[in-house]
């Protein structure tokens, strides 16, 4: 879906992809409320993008003029295309990571032949994210307890250094602790290691992979024979 949304320029197709993504989410039991915070955050981004396109694409049809700044209707389809593409990319990526279990991802990376020292890091990043987010919250609370005013985005921006400095130092201390714990458990001692769980491609997975490969080939063929239809 990512590939499709990046290589297509038609707003109608992009809207269809977006609908497909939402249908897939509903079919997989992901409630829309899980996607809504991201979708809502992207609304302001989409609005700014459409505005920029209205501003940057001059044409014979002016839409609005305020103090010498003129917005043109010609930029609207482009703005809509970019905004829809961003929605497709963001929601498809978000869904992938809602569905994916960090351990399964690590095991999958191992299957591709990646060394376990590196394969484990992807899972580690997904696991440490909420921990470090909590850590940042504690730092904000501590600095506020010392009298620093940190409410509101602007104040957080101005006082970035007193927050960022302890955050980085605490994160590095945590990295130290994790590395020591891993080494004590023999991380990196042997070239190969054993796992409690393994992942095996089932017959259904193979069928899905074949279908996806065929679909990608058909899509590439269609794009090459009739490129105008997609752009």
């Amino acid at each position: 879906m990512l590939l499709l949304s990046i290589t297509t320029g038609r707003p109608v197709l992009l809207a269809t992809y977006l609908l497909l993504i939402l249908t897939a989410a509903a079919a997989a039991g992901v409630p829309f409320v899980h996607l809504w915070p991201t979708a809502r955050a992207m609304l302001s981004v989409a609005a700014v993008i459409v505005f920029i396109q209205l501003l940057l694409h001059p044409g014979p049809h002016p839409l609005l003029q305020v103090d010498g700044i003129r917005l043109y209707r010609e930029g609207f389809p482009i703005g809509l295309e970019v905004a829809l593409r961003i929605y497709c990319i963001v929601l498809a990526s978000l869904l992938t990571f809602i569905w994916m279990d960090p351990t399964a991802l690590t095991l999958l990376l191992l299957k591709t032949g990646l060394n376990y020292r590196y394969a484990m890091l992807v899972g580690l990043s997904l696991r440490t994210f909420p921990l470090l987010e909590r850590e940042l919250g504690k730092i904000y609370d501590s600095q506020q307890a010392r009298g620093m005013e940190l409410r509101g985005t602007l104040r957080k921006l101005i006082r970035l250094i007193p927050v960022m400095m302890p955050f980085v130092l605490r994160a590095l201390r945590r990295a130290n602790e994790i590395a020591v714990a891993m080494e004590l458990r023999g991380f990196g001692y042997r070239k190969e290691r054993t796992w409690q769980r393994t992942i095996v491609l089932g017959s259904r997975d193979r069928v899905v992979l074949v279908v996806l490969a065929v679909a990608a080939l058909v899509y590439a063929g269609l794009r090459l024979t009739d490129p105008g239809w997609f752009v």
Binding site: T38, V45, V48, I86, S93, S125, L160, R174, A175, A179
Partner: protein, 199 residues
Amino acid sequence: MSVKTGTIQGVVGEEQPLSRHQLQIFRFDAKALVAGVILGVVMTIINAGILERVDTALTGGTWFPLAGGTHSTISVISGLFFRLPAGWITGETNALFAVITGSTPVSWAFLINNAIYPVIVVLVSRVLSMKKWYHFAVLLAPAILIGYSPMIPATYSVFHLTWGLAFKFQLLTDVAAFAIATVLAYLISEAIARSRVAD
């Protein structure tokens, strides 16, 4: 005459580098790898959570006056203290999360940026002690100019801008990132070296 100082060979009278591992290009120990991931998550929380959103709301994602600064700061810290592949891991972790969270429309281009940026940081920091603030300026100038250059075609294609405008927006990001990161990277690197958490 030379003396041994940890892992590096220092010459008597010469300024010692800020990090013990500064003369190495690669570090494969568990601590470096884990620190690479953790710094990537730190960068993501600061950038994708606050700064990229503010930047995107202000500029539509066409340039990043704030996020560029913290991105450069964390990338320099990762490359300086943990070398490669930790620098790559930090950058790519951030890029991965930026794509997932959709913090900016051009986040997929971070995958390319963050592959180039740490290489420049690691190579330039080998020839500088990084004890003075202007060492960070010297390090950041090529790192930002070369490392961020893939953003130009990305901005051009995603936003349908002209090449001239894409260059100008990138230049604005570069200037802001350079100014912010020179100060932040110097202060935080000094603090890390003093605290010895990276040793």
